[in-house]
Amino acid sequence: MARGGPIRAGVLAAQGGFAAHLGVLRRLGVEAAEVRSGAEIEAVDLLVLPGGESTTIAKAIARDRLGEPIRRHVEAGRVLFGTCAGMILCDRNHLGLIDAVAVRNAYGRQAQSFEVELDIAALGERPLSAVFIRAPRIAEHGAAVEVLARHDDDPVVVCQGSVLCATFHPELTDDLRLHEYAVALCQRPDDEMKESGSVAR
């Protein structure tokens, strides 16, 4: 929207749950495509970093030199939505897009994966079903990071400037409200996005 016209979304398709995110975005009527190159990232208003294996995706980002295009996307005030591994990639130890540190597989192995109903005031009264799969935990975060939801005191949905992150998988349920929220962020004025925006590095 920042550049006029309908919102174009791209889901990083290096590895992971990109297909599910594309499905949700398309159900919301958003034009969405897989992205795998700097040029493709350049062309989108909303960039989704999906779940998957963060080590695998981080290696692909390094191999394909996508770190700079992703950082430029955020520096320009465009919206980035990271879920699970995508959240890890945004932290201080990876791309440095939010002032937070994630601990990988913090709940344990698949045996400890769980589903839970989360209260998220920003999404209204009805709780959101959240699917945590080998999920990370946000161990610490700076003051610029706004916490939108917690589970057992741990922040699980956070926002800083134009970067929105969830430690779980909103793309695996039929409740599309968190994606709607990400799309709505694209319609905020540019200056508001850059205000608290990047970067934690």
């Binding site: 290096a14 998957g52 045996a111 589903e115």
Partner: protein, 295 residues
């Protein structure tokens, strides 16, 4: 009020493996190499399929010490294989908290008539299939992920191609059928009607579909993705090649960029010798095909 072991959590983990490569490993060093090379998961087993083929004998679930050492060595998901129908091997692996169980034809079957009741487990299962009916029977039993069987340990992609085409073609056919023909089609497929209906409506399996069995080169890995596989399992193809680490990285790269010939070409350079391939007709004549295990 949290729930565990749900089907959504089981298929969810498979969703997160899409676009990635799951590599067979037999010890912690191989597991480290696989992780370093960008594998999205590793499969722990006693011997890679080509060695099982060569050595003969009964192939069982891997040594638990080895599986535990692999779990200790890597942070990516660890899968392990059990024999078809051997639900106690599965109970043991669930107890060990492996992330996924492969009820696999590569091991010697423990039951000639029954697969494991996978709905009774919290740990997710992946199963092999050679056609749509077989895939749907496994899903009905609770499999949360399907892979082609291919012909493991041969370095020959022809069987995996046959199986992927059969599954994807079968799905397209179901979609084209009028609703009243689904019941008799379910009978032909020897699969429950509800599962058949779900596939006809969705236009895809209700769980992720991966390729396994015979991938030896980056081009093989890209071929299976272009044919509809959502990710790849690679067994002997990596650790039986001249330079496992480079080949592993190349297969990972070709899986991500499967539709970009320039990237697949670049990934294919300078890898040294691929594993030696086996002719399927020769194995068939010897009665040595693994894909015929399971039903």
């Amino acid at each position: 009020m949290s729930e565990q072991g749900t089907f959504r959590l089981k298929t969810g983990l498979a969703e997160m493996l899409k676009g990635g490569v799951i590599m067979d490993v037999t010890n912690r060093d191989q597991a480290k190499i696989a992780e370093e090379s960008g594998a999205c998961a590793v499969m722990a087993l006693e011997r890679v399929p080509s060695d099982i083929r060569r050595d003969g004998g009964v192939a069982r679930m891997a040594n638990l010490e080895v599986i535990a050492a692999i779990q200790e060595a890597v942070t990516i998901p660890v899968m392990a294989k059990v024999r078809i129908g051997h639900f106690v091997e599965a109970q043991v692996l669930q107890n060990l908290e492996v992330d996924y169980i492969d009820e696999s034809e590569v091991l010697t079957p423990a039951d000639e008539a029954h697969h494991i009741d996978k709905l009774g487990f919290d740990v997710p299962f992946v199963c092999g299939a050679t056609n749509l009916g077989e895939a749907l029977r496994r899903i009905a039993e609770g499999a949360a992920m399907i892979r082609s069987k291919g012909e493991a340990g041969t370095g020959n992609i022809v069987e995996a191609v046959r199986h992927l085409r059969a599954i994807v073609g079968g799905i397209k056919r179901l979609q084209s059928l009028p609703a009243e023909e689904l019941a008799s089609e379910a009978k032909n497929l020897q699969a429950p009607l509800e599962v058949v209906r779900a596939v006809a409506e969705l236009g895809w399996l209700s769980v992720p579909l991966f390729c396994a069995g015979g991938i030896a080169t980056p081009a093989d890995a890209a071929l299976t993705i272009q044919l509809g596989a959502e990710g790849n399992f690679v067994g002997s193809g990596i650790f039986k090649s001249a330079d496992p680490e480079r080949r592993a990285k190349a297969i990972v790269e070709a899986t991500t960029h499967a539709r970009d010939p320039e990237r697949v070409a670049a990934a294919s350079m300078g890898l040294g010798e691929a594993m030696r391939g086996e002719e399927i007709a020769t194995l068939a004549a010897e009665g040595a095909l693994l894909q015929n295990r399971g039903w």
